[in-house]
Amino acid sequence: MWQALARPGYLLSGWPLRSVAYLAVTGVTGLLTLLVTAVSLAAGVLLSMAIVGVPLLAAVALLGLPVAALERRSMRLVDATRRVPVAHRMPHDPGLTWWLRTRFSEAATWRELGYALLFMLVLAPVDLLAVTLGVTVPLALIATPVLLGTVGEGEQVNVLKAYAVTSWPAAFAVCAAGLLALAVCGYGLGLLAGARAALASSLLTMAGNRTADRVTELTRSRVRLLDAFEAERGRIERDLHDGAQQRLVALTMMLGLARLDAPPGPLAKQLERAHDEAGRALGELRNLIRGIHPPLLVDFGIEAAVADLADRSAIPVDVTIEVLPRLPRHIESTVYFVVSEALSNMAKHSGATRGEVSGRFVPEDQTHPGRPGILLVSVRDDGCGGADPDAGTGLLGLRERVSVVDGTLTLSSPPGGPTRVDVEIPCRPLPNSE
């Protein structure tokens, strides 16, 4: 727009007309919006006693959405290159409830509502006034000779209802002034339209709030990524289970049958070796799969999977886990990973004779809705202590893994022991799990 204004051929280009169109569109829609809002508010307030008015009032709060959408569109009339990004998030689930929940909880909605108010009360009236005067006054001036010849019958015509023109030279002078005014208004309206569009676009995109939204979005996408990662592990595990493992079982079975039929001798010996080897491969594959995606965790949840981990530990480990609800997959798998690492550290470094894993879930506090429940898990031993999170990558990795799900991991391991790892993860149980 600004470059167009500076070019010599501006008045003969399409830009003045586009500016007029932009201002006319915004002016008219502003008036309509004002009308609709006033009626809705009045009706909403009147009906709010009968409940039905409340949704109507809530709908008024969403007024900014269509206004901002229209503004983004009409803005292109005067600024073809400017694209104001839509700051709204995609609702996570389909359906009106989720859509409303998302819209009402994001800053963009309220910013747009603020813009809508400014728009219909201040900006639109100014637009409408400017476009009306800027178009009608020059045209009226230009039309003076025509009016003098027709309506005024060659004797008198009142220009703009104020200034009487009685002669042809005066009429043509007014006409010339009208042409000049048209040129001035062409530039004026262009300037106004450009400034209007710039103001609207800066109001609809505010840097600070965009950052906050971005952080929220990034946090969510991180969790989504983690979920996708878990799903992928599940898929790999299933593929191995249904593919390689089944084939290996079938192979050992065939080799076993072949051994029954083989006459004693070198062939039987070779078959025996092959059979044993296939059996070992199967064992290794099974351990590998368990590491990728423990089936017990998927089927029965944290308690069973942790009890199983404790069973496998070289050091006796007592498990006291209160009945837990089923939690989102990435949470369960984080806990499993932490306990598994902590137990293997214990076995490797602590010299402990006994370990303990305890866990419980504190559900969402009903007096503070919106605050999620907390999963608390601790792993303790009676070993020599002195575990240093900075020395090895193991503990650091655990801490990072926990922080990805917004949890915290605290390690207490004074020299001489005992060692204690506490994990707190805020989370919500999966629906219909108990």
Partner: protein, 204 residues
């Protein structure tokens, strides 16, 4: 798929007749009703979700057909699965084996026949884990008694245990009496009752 065909071939090789080979829990239920088989062999995992449908179906069959021998094959050593299976019904005529055991063809068929005969067969790996879980009372047992205990829990007869440990039948009987006494379990003669007593103790 592959495994199912292999199993059909294996059982035929040992002179058994496979009346139906199905691919999901629904098919299993229908086949049991249609053919009234002598024994059911099922995988823990089955379509559609490949989680534990097979186990669920087996647990359900234990309730609807308490006399039907069932052997569940599992990909993993999970005492939890074994416990679920044993807790459904009275614990007789039931087996829980690691899928790998299928490769030891003769042993596998032997285990199957023991289950058909009313026995209880739990995979040695599972038993080992159960034994490890219950450490404290088992600490009173000698190493040899623990060996015997593991074999008892697998559903072995006295003679089989004696053969495996290369000791006399009388020695085995003495060990078992000691074990039952030390663990405060009721004396039992019948092999599967003995297994059950031990398993009840282990999973309590």
């Amino acid at each position: 798929m592959l495994l199912r065909e292999g199993l059909v071939g294996l059982l035929a090789r040992f002179g058994h007749r496979v009346v139906a080979a199905v691919c999901d829990a629904e098919g299993l239920r229908e086949a049991v009703v249609a053919h009234a088989p002598d024994v059911v062999v099922t995988d823990v995992r089955m379509p559609p979700t490949f989680k534990d449908e097979g186990l669920r179906a087996a647990v359900e069959l234990r309730r609807t057909h308490p006399r039907l021998p069932i052997v569940v094959l599992s990909q993993y050593v999970e005492t939890r699965y074994a416990t679920e299976l044993l807790n459904a019904g009275d614990g007789t005529s039931v087996g829980y084996l690691l899928k790998d055991r299928v490769g030891q063809v003769a042993e596998f068929v032997d285990a199957l026949e023991r289950v058909v005969a009313g026995g209880t067969v739990i995979d040695p790996e599972v038993v080992r884990q159960m034994v490890r879980r219950r450490r404290s009372p088992l600490e009173a047992l000698t190493a040899r008694e623990r060996e015997v205990l593991a074999l008892v829990a697998e559903g072995r007869s006295n003679a089989a245990i004696a053969g495996q440990l290369v000791i006399t039948d009388a020695a085995v009987a003495k060990h078992i009496r000691n074990i039952l006494h030390k663990l405060d379990l009721p004396q039992a003669e019948e092999s599967h009752r003995r297994v059950l007593a031990v398993l009840t103790f282990l999973r309590s």
